[in-house]
Subunit: 208 residues, 2 copies
């Protein structure tokens, strides 16, 4: 069993990932972070970095994995809380916003990574979004809210929903986390976006 022998460790590893995340949360762009900077923030000697990551891109990739966990937690909570279908959109957007607030740095990293420097990180985040969209499509299918849509159109709708929400991230991260008024505005707007999309889906007729 020479597979996973990191039994206790991963302490510094975690410190480094948190350090990078912290710097991102402070407004720095991930692409501009250096190894020394991150290790300094983590309170570790620079060469320690190489014990866990090959370079900053590698660290970024591992952050994407953790981001996946955060997103999955969010999805689980949404599924648990959205009981009646009529408040589906409001509830989901509210949950999204609350998670984005609680994990601000993570979501900043996500927003940055979409147009980031590392192709691999970019692809990783995009893949997380695809997964998210496909799960959303499954839920919609299960709830039978959009029965008239074929699979392809349902996928398109889910994709558009996820994108719209993701774009709202940019708005959300642009305002102070304490600015309740602005956040409320963003929540309302995002909600209306999704409502508009669903009205479109409800009246959609597949071409042909």
């Amino acid at each position: 069993m020479a597979e996973k022998q990191r039994r206790k460790p991963g302490e510094t590893r975690e410190k480094l990932m948190n350090a990078a995340l912290t710097l991102v949360g402070k407004g720095r762009h991930f692409a501009s972070l250096g190894i020394r900077e991150v290790t300094r923030q983590a309170g570790v000697v620079p060469t320690s970095f190489y014990r866990h990551f090959r370079n900053m891109d590698d660290l970024g990739l591992q952050l994407v994995d953790e981001l996946g966990l955060v997103l999955r937690r969010m999805m689980r909570e949404a599924r648990a809380n959205v009981l009646q279908a009529d408040k589906l959109i409001e509830e989901s957007v509210a949950i999204f916003i609350s998670h984005a607030r609680a994990n601000r740095s993570f979501f900043m990293f996500m927003a940055q990574g979409l147009a980031g420097e590392s192709r691999a990180v970019q692809e990783g985040i995009r893949s997380e979004m695809r997964y998210f969209a496909s799960e959303l499509a499954n839920d919609l299918r299960r709830l039978r809210l959009v029965d008239h849509l074929n699979d392809q159109d349902l996928d398109m709708t889910s994709d558009l929903v996820v994108r719209s929400v993701a774009f709202s991230l940019t708005d959300l991260l642009g305002v102070s986390p304490d600015d309740d008024y602005q956040i409320e505005q963003i929540r309302k707007r995002t909600t209306r976006f999704l409502q508009l999309i669903f009205v479109g889906a409800a009246n959609w007729k597949s071409p042909g």
Copy 2:
């Protein structure tokens, strides 16, 4: 008239801006560019930089201004070519894609800037998008395609359209500029996104 006394010059200035753009086009992230790197690419001595820009953020801001011009050119072309309303969406998306191709670096800079490091650049790009959306709303009003929408709902629709297209940028910039097949896929998908949104707008009833 001591206003604009840069009569002939601005040569190096332009070289520097193009250099930054070129580097971004090569896959680098703007936030990770340094003064020396840019001047090197421009074939200019490092200290020359300060004759034109205070720092990299300043250069970024000036790039946003130029980006505005690019966007306005695109808008003009779209208005000139979209004669009959039935092909409005297809035509507009096609024009967008062709401009994104022709000015790849510029649009990369735009996509990066939305979640970039400089708050000012971020705000600048966002402002360009708002302007774009408001112009789109005007056009839609003029074409009387969505007469039943009040101003606020029309603004929302335009905003969502612009965002969806902007997000497609991320897709577009993620594939090779020569990959015609993938680009065609993105074109089709973006088109359907917009169609879905417009179906939503056509059936939208303002709440209340």
